[in-house]
């Protein structure tokens, strides 16, 4: 009986892990190799900037894109990082998306300063924690992101997922918050690279 319920919990956990979509590209891209991309932190707090930094490093590792460093972004844009109104109606407990609410003007201004072809803006507006009886503490960082293509500033992809440090999940067992975040950043970078056909070691 114990084995059966153990297997059941494993199946549920596995299905949760495998359901996460880290990135969805909305249009076919064939010639992105060598194009420049910058990852922008949409909120000026520590977790958001950390995720942007990790994603920058992961994209440099996994993709054939020219990835602008966070240092260069900070040198090019005064006061970076600062808040950019993001794509949500509410973001207190979780994110209720509303893509009309993005401050596209601010994003276009940033792109003008950086001169990159792709701008990947990531927001982490909700950070929650709670305790599960007999399991432990769960920490969640709700993220939403958009990939913009220039010169038009068209949103061509994005995602919405939760970075979760959950004592019962394989991906975060025994890991620090930073390690969990790096795991997610790596997965996002791999999916962006695969879907844009610029993954290192791929057939692009």
């Amino acid at each position: 009986m114990r084995i059966k319920s153990g297997i059941f919990i494993l199946v549920i956990m596995f299905s949760f892990v495998s359901c996460v979509s880290y990135f969805n590209l909305k249009k076919e891209i064939a010639d992105a190799e060598g194009s420049e991309i910058a990852v922008i932190s949409g909120i000026n707090n520590e977790p958001n900037l950390s995720f942007a930094m990790m994603l920058t490093a992961s994209l440099q590792k996994h993709s054939k894109l020219k990835v602008m460093s966070q240092k260069k972004i900070a040198e090019s844009i005064e006061y970076y990082p600062f808040r950019i109104e993001g794509p949500w109606k509410f973001a207190y407990v979780d994110i209720e998306p509303d893509f009309e609410r993005v401050n596209l003007e601010k994003i276009k201004e940033i792109q003008k300063r950086l001169g990159v072809k792709y701008l990947y803006v990531v927001w982490t507006p909700v950070e929650t924690s709670y305790t599960l009886q007999n399991t432990g503490n769960v920490y969640e960082l709700h993220t939403i992101s958009q990939l913009y293509e220039f010169p038009d500033g068209e949103p061509i992809g994005g995602s919405k997922f939760v970075i979760a440090k959950h004592p019962g999940m394989f991906s975060s067992m025994g890991k620090s918050k930073r390690d969990v975040m790096m795991y997610y950043a790596d997965n996002v970078a791999k999916e962006i690279s695969e879907q844009m056909k610029v993954i290192k070691g791929g057939n692009s």
Binding site: I43, E78, F82, R83, F90, V93, E96, P125
Partner: protein
């Protein structure tokens, strides 16, 4: 007899439905805005409502309190957009935690740590405002289900949240807290609403209460749009 009991059941069902749809029930907060002893009410000047952090909750509070003060008083109130223009990093996470602040057994209600006072002074220097109303949310919590506390509707209306919002009014150039409010409240709402919607409604209610208390206790009557003179 059967018809009568059927009518009773029906009317009870209607009653329950009305409560479910009506949604939200709140408590009246127990504390008030307090003017620090020896301080005078504000009878002119410029004021900026500053969010204690860049969190969605604090941003909502600052926007709503700003709106209320702009609509209902003769004070010159900085819009949140103006603050953002003058300080591109605003709203920002500038405050350091001072959780003991709302513990009124041991610390005076108007307490604002020296570190936070310094950070706020830097903001004030960029604005030149004569007064700053600083508001930030501490300890927002939410939960669902279960009979709890003393609200008679709590067994029906499923969503509940709790919030405390310390507020400080600081006068410049003196850099002195002249008034404070440690707003605390609970809010009950129908399960029909999402937690995000419930919290949003709660924040609007909290902001209204804070600005009403501010205008009543801290502001001179002549500064009220309905009763005063320009």
């Amino acid at each position: 007899m059967f018809v009568k009991s059927k009518q009773w059941v029906l009317s009870m069902l209607c009653f329950l439905l009305v409560i479910l749809l009506a949604g939200c029930v709140g408590y009246s907060p127990k504390s008030d805005f307090e003017l620090v002893e020896g301080e005078k009410k504000i009878n002119k000047g410029t004021i900026a409502v500053i969010a204690g952090s860049g969190s969605e909750v604090d941003i909502k509070l600052a926007h709503e309190i700003t709106r209320q003060l702009t609509e209902n008083t003769n004070l010159t109130v900085f819009s949140q957009e103006e603050l953002n223009k003058r300080m591109p990093q605003y709203p920002m996470f500038f405050m350091k935690s001072q959780e003991s602040e709302t513990d009124q057994w041991s610390i005076r209600p108007s307490y604002l740590s020296e570190e936070n006072k310094k950070s706020l002074k830097k903001i004030q220097e960029k604005l030149g405002a004569e007064y700053i109303l600083l508001a930030w949310a501490e300890g927002i919590s939410y939960w669902e289900n279960g009979v709890s506390e003393s609200c008679i509707f709590s067994f029906i209306s499923g969503k509940k949240c709790k919030l405390s919002v310390p507020c400080r009014v600081v006068k410049y150039p003196e850099n002195r807290v002249i008034a404070s409010y440690n707003y605390k409240d609970r809010y009950y709402s129908s399960s029909l609403y999402s937690f995000n919607q419930v919290i949003d409604k709660f924040l609007v209610k909290a902001s209204r209460q804070i600005s009403e208390q501010f205008t009543t206790v801290v502001l001179d009557e002549s500064m009220l749009i309905n009763t005063g003179e320009k």
